[in-house]
């Protein structure tokens, strides 16, 4: 059977982990924001700005890690704007988030056109190369998937571990989660809800931008205007699917990536030739909606998500 052939090849699992990597960064970023009580709909645009600035930095002759750093800082900058408008000023998180997405996307396109007015085909950079971990990468089936990836993929999994530890094992994480559950309790402890939320949105946005940078610096080697293509929105669905828990959210991204990798391969089979290719391209978006529906009854939403906090107001 076709399906088993696909599932038993190592290259399939390599693709699954590669497809999941940018989503893991952005999902962790969104998860941090939402845990602190802020829905960040800027995610789609922040991924675009990360993809663009990271790529541009390398294209200008700097090294790849500088590109990642610049992407993260650019994301944090837009995160700061989002946070200032939604946290102390308490503006609608829907409207501000969409505004940030429009702004960051337009800013990327504008800057791209100014920097490269003449180009017709998108210029390339030399992206991150695969780092093979000796011995482990030779394991059958999943060895290459887990131990022969680009450094950003390893960083993605490192980020998940760091986010889990910080959120659930440190006083900072406790305060951050409380800011999203019961902000007045945080204030009663003498901590600032405003500062915690602004910090969470900035860090989260930085991670989203690295997720975007993965696309231009690890997956492809050029920047295209439409390259993020809804991945940000999918990550918001993945946060819900994961029940706002880092580990479960990562399982969600891997499951999602497996379906995505599968549909790409099914397109090459006789079945794929018989079905319009657009049906396959719809699969990720349909799956995201299904994930939301499946999890709707079980989800434990942070109680103060999307509720602005105004000191002294009861």
């Amino acid at each position: 059977l076709d399906l088993f052939d696909i599932l038993l090849t190592a290259s399939f699992w390599v693709a699954v982990v590669r497809i999941a990597s940018p989503l893991i960064f952005a999902t962790m970023g969104e998860l941090i924001c939402e845990r602190a009580g802020v829905l960040n709909l800027g995610i789609e645009g922040i991924m675009v700005i990360g993809a663009f600035t990271g790529w541009m930095t390398v294209y200008q002759g700097h090294d790849l890690w500088t590109g990642v750093l610049v992407a993260m800082l650019a994301g944090m900058g837009f995160g700061l704007v989002h946070a200032v408008l939604t946290v102390p000023f308490g503006l609608s998180q829907h409207v501000v988030g969409l505004g940030i997405t429009l702004l960051a996307t337009a800013a990327s396109s504008f800057a791209y056109r100014i920097a490269l007015p003449e180009v017709t085909s998108p210029p390339k950079i030399i992206p991150f190369q695969v780092w093979e971990i000796p011995a482990l990468s030779k394991l059958p089936l999943i060895g290459p998937a887990l131990f022969a990836q680009t450094p950003l993929t390893y960083l993605a999994f490192g980020t998940v571990i760091a986010v889990s530890i910080i959120l659930f094992r440190t006083p900072l994480g406790l305060a951050l989660r409380a800011a999203g559950e019961n902000p007045s309790a945080v204030e009663a402890q003498g901590l600032s809800v405003t500062a915690l939320r602004i910090g969470a949105v900035m860090i989260g946005s930085g991670l989203m931008a690295i997720g975007g940078a993965f696309l231009t610096m690890s997956a492809f080697s050029s920047f295209f205007f439409e390259m993020v293509n809804g991945r940000g929105w999918i990550c918001i669905a993945l946060v819900v699917f994961g029940g706002w828990k880092p580990g479960k959210a990562v399982l969600g991204t891997l499951l999602f990536a497996a379906f995505d990798a599968l549909q790409i391969r099914l397109q090459q089979t006789p079945l794929g030739a018989a079905v319009p290719y657009q049906l396959f391209l719809m699969v990720p978006y349909v799956l995201s909606i299904l994930a939301l529906v499946l999890m709707s009854r079980r989800a434990e939403v942070p109680a103060a998500l999307m509720v602005p906090y105004n000191k002294g107001e009861r």
Binding site: V95, L98, G230, Q278, V286
Partner: protein
């Protein structure tokens, strides 16, 4: 920092703060023009001239405003009930698909009958497309922001599938486009010889109708009540779920009219580039209009003017047209902040 509501904002606040927001937007646009190596004053002048400097420019702006008024209304209606319909783009395409389906010769009706039938069918398609996410919201508590956003992508692939499959024009030289509408299914021009079509008239009429609905009917009152406080509305005996569904049907229908009017009024056929994001820009239009349906007309024309003006400026001065998108996103953010500050005082400690 703490915000304290102001009961009676002074006139200075009410006019000064939005003016300041506008000034900040213009300042940012000037900086962007400088960055692109152009003279900021000349750039802004060219945008103005391109948007309203001649009869041709002005009509072009009104043409571009037409779909934006429809999507702006769709979003204003929905946001008023705090129903976050971000799927106007998909609903627009649903309307466009139905317009092509019925307008290419399937219905042998004379124009005065055919056009209303097509318009209503298009509205129905848009309405049904939003019904799904809303039922998921009211029945299962699934957030409609993400579902409506995701539907935009699904719809585009669906339209692409249609245009390369069953809806493909056999005479289209292989291009993915639909067959042309029959003459009876085309919206006529308002003045013969000028490019402005009756879609614009329909947009004005829709704005008026929505305004009447919002200010003069029970449904309008109920929508506002649900938007302000769903718990209180439920307590007052308002069927919140049903009001949200009615709102959704109206919102989806209005967005679909944008697709109908673009296909039947402007293009005459359907291609994948029918909408350069009218559904998303409608959010800016609705917010700049403070969700007021009559304001949507003004905001729609303003936003269209920025786009049309920027296109023509870009050809003359070489500043990328994306300056329009930056300008509008900035004006959205500065304006919502300004409005908030007209109604509340900031205490810094």
């Amino acid at each position: 920092m703490r915000l304290e509501p102001i009961a009676n904002p002074s006139r200075l606040r009410l006019i000064g703060l939005p003016a300041l927001a506008l000034a900040l937007t213009v300042l940012i646009a000037s900086l962007l023009a400088l960055l692109a190596g152009a003279n900021p004053f000349a750039t802004l002048g060219l945008i103005l001239k391109g948007a309203a400097g001649s009869k041709f420019a002005l009509l072009e702006t009104l043409n571009r405003a037409t779909p934006l008024i429809f999507t702006g209304l769709a979003i204003a209606v929905a946001f008023r009930a705090k129903l976050w319909n971000i799927g106007a783009e998909a609903q627009l395409y649903a309307g466009a698909v139905v317009t092509v389906l019925l307008g290419t010769g399937a219905l042998p009706l004379p124009a005065p009958l055919l056009l209303p039938v097509i318009a209503l069918a298009a509205m129905l398609a848009g309405a049904l497309l939003l019904l799904g996410p809303v039922l998921l919201k009211t029945r299962l508590g699934v957030d409609e922001v993400v579902t409506t956003l995701l539907f935009n992508f699904i719809m585009l692939y669906f339209v692409s599938m249609l245009l390369e499959g069953p809806m493909k024009d056999p005479m289209g030289m292989g291009w993915p486009k639909s067959a042309a509408l029959v003459k009876e299914a085309r919206l006529p021009r308002i003045v013969e010889g000028l490019r402005l079509h009756w879609g614009f008239g329909l947009a004005l009429l829709s704005a008026l109708a929505v305004w009447v609905m919002q200010t003069r009917t029970t449904l309008g009152y109920e929508i506002r009540a649900v938007g302000q406080n769903p718990e209180a509305a439920r307590f007052a005996g308002i069927p919140v779920g049903r009001v949200l569904i009615k709102t959704a049907l109206l919102s989806g229908g209005l967005a679909a009219l944008a697709g109908f009017s673009e296909v039947a009024g402007l293009r005459g056929n359907l291609t994948l580039d029918l909408s350069p994001g009218f559904g998303y820009t409608g959010i800016i239009v609705a917010m700049l209009a403070l969700l007021n349906p009559l304001g949507v007309v003004v905001a729609g024309i303003f936003v269209a003017g920025v786009f049309v003006g920027a296109d023509s400026m870009s050809r003359a001065a070489g500043v990328p047209t994306y300056i329009a998108d930056i300008l509008l996103a900035t004006s959205l953010l500065t304006m919502v902040l300004a409005i908030r500050l007209t109604r509340s005082k900031v205490h810094w400690r």
